[in-house]
Amino acid sequence: MPAFLEVQNLVKSFGTNTVVKGVNFAFAKGEFISLLGPSGCGKTTILRMIAGFERPTSGTIRVDGEDITHLKPNQRQLGMVFQAYALFPNMTVGENIAFGLKVAGMPAEQRRARVDEMLKLIGLLGFDKRYPYEMSGGQQQRVALARAIAPKPRLLLLDEPLSALDAKIRVSLREEIRAIQRDLGITTVFVTHDQEEAMSISDRIVVMNSGNIEQLGAAHDIYNRPATRFVATFVGQLNTLPAGVLAGTPGERAIRPELISLAPRPETDLTLTGTIADLHFLGSVQRLRVDIGGTLVNIDTFNNQTSPLQRGDTVTLHLAQKDLLTLGA
């Protein structure tokens, strides 16, 4: 498939501070992409350059084959959802959603039909006469989403749209966003610093660190085959086993907590012995911290123990050679 959104050698400096250091990616039409990385790594800056709010120091941005690098934001035909909703406080929900259609010159009759269609899509039919201040944060953000997609933009850009919401709404709204995105087949770039959020809804994830792409791939690739030490430690939990902990493996290795078990499995071919230093009961999962000669290792096990474990118990850990990660630079 030809690239629909293509970014080449994108660089952005503020004064002498280069915050985006030559980023390249290409995505197909309809993909849901997340830009994931710690605070200050340049995610928002990249999104704002795609939107046209920041001028790249160098590099090109193409949408559907068209070079948009130097277009003004209002010429790009993109949609964006902001962290702080940014609904127009002087307009009703209906007027907010219709705004993009109005400036595009759509006749009132069609506008009304499109607004209703959008309200139905976000499950807020009948709310068109309300003002933003009369709605909850989650409702406002759904309206902001409807407002962004009503003019049928070529790309949908979302900058941490869920981070102002409480945990429960965050999860339900992200699924809603994903469902709507899939429905409309709209190419979407989603910025987040929450790795769980990125992994749960993205087709592909761009993991960034201080202005560079560390890895680009589907969630399972990034989790199971992290390309760099940064990705391995930033995405998910990880145990590092210094050289010497595992007999017969020179150098440092790492392993995910859920790949260590207390009982042997067909594929396990290594064992470690230690004592339980700490244990946390998390409902369906039990997290153990095991002390192996001074190295602490986290283990997640399902909560199906017949005899409860205790602190100070000696346990044998079973793991498989093939699950071990070698961390690069």
Partner: protein
């Protein structure tokens, strides 16, 4: 009454007395035109003077133009400074305070020199030109109030994000200011407009030196020639002022609420 409530009450009472007693005295005096009798004769006299309507009407229309020009100058200026050149703000603060520091007399002599009938741009050569000059002078006089009112209005909304949200949907700069910024700072603009109006209605120096038939010079003229009418006029001015304030309050209730919920 508890002790800690006594002092606040005393201060409020003293403050109220400070404002209300002279007003009351003025009002009573304005009713004393006829000997040993309280009548509204002074008011009748004021309202039967055609010059009252002529000068008030003149000042009213100059005031309206001043407000319109002021809005057109101040709103885009504040908007762009806040949005794109925030480092210019201290300079703007300073410049917009100048009209308070420079006496109107200095201002008007400067104007006459620059735009006098023998200058390159002879604004004072015609009546229309002089009216335009007067309006411009009033825009400047009202600038400190208009600037601060509009600046405060824009502080309460996130103009940066609202502008970007509108831009990405295809809106032009004019559409953004007209459809989003202006409606959201309407109350602030109204209070600026009201202050402008109050300044224009009472202004004497510039109007009289440019020799225009404004309400200020009329008030001063009455004040020097009559005894009771000035008091009646003062009360009328107060009522107009309060009326305008009431209007701002009423209109403010229709203003959009800008506080966004985040739950």
């Amino acid at each position: 009454m508890k002790a800690q409530k006594f002092w606040p009450w005393l201060i409020v009472t003293l403050g109220a007395a400070y404002f209300l007693i002279p007003l009351l005295a003025t009002f009573i005096f304005s009713l004393r035109m006829r000997r040993n009798e309280y009548t509204f004769d002074a008011y009748v006299s004021v309202f039967s003077d055609p010059k009252f309507y002529a000068t008030f009407g003149y000042s009213l229309s100059v005031g309206v133009f001043t407000i319109i020009v002021g809005i057109f100058v101040v709103v885009p200026a504040v908007y762009f400074v806040r949005l794109r050149m925030p480092w210019l703000r201290p300079f703007m603060e300073f410049v917009t305070l100048l009209p308070l520091v420079i006496p109107a007399l200095v201002l008007v002599y400067g104007y006459v020199r620059l735009y006098g009938s023998s200058s390159l741009i002879p604004f004072t050569g015609s009546i229309l030109g002089t009216d335009i000059l007067l309006t411009c002078a009033y825009v400047m006089l009202a600038m400190p109030y208009m600037y601060r009112a509009v600046d405060n209005g824009m502080r309460t909304i996130d103009i940066g994000t609202l502008t970007e949200a509108a831009q990405i949907m295809g809106a032009s700069q004019v559409q953004i200011i007209g459809n989003i910024i202006l409606p959201n700072i309407l109350v602030a603009i109204l209070s600026g407009a009201f202050l402008t109006f109050a300044i224009v209605i009472g202004e004497f120096t510039i109007a009289s030196l440019l020799n225009r038939p404004a309400f200020g010079p009329y008030l001063v003229g009455i004040g020097t020639n009559r005894a009771y009418e000035p008091a009646a006029l003062a009360i009328i001015s107060f009522i107009i002022t309060w009326g305008a304030m009431g209007m701002i309050n009423v209109l403010g209730r229709f203003a959009p609420r800008t506080s966004a919920r985040t739950d």
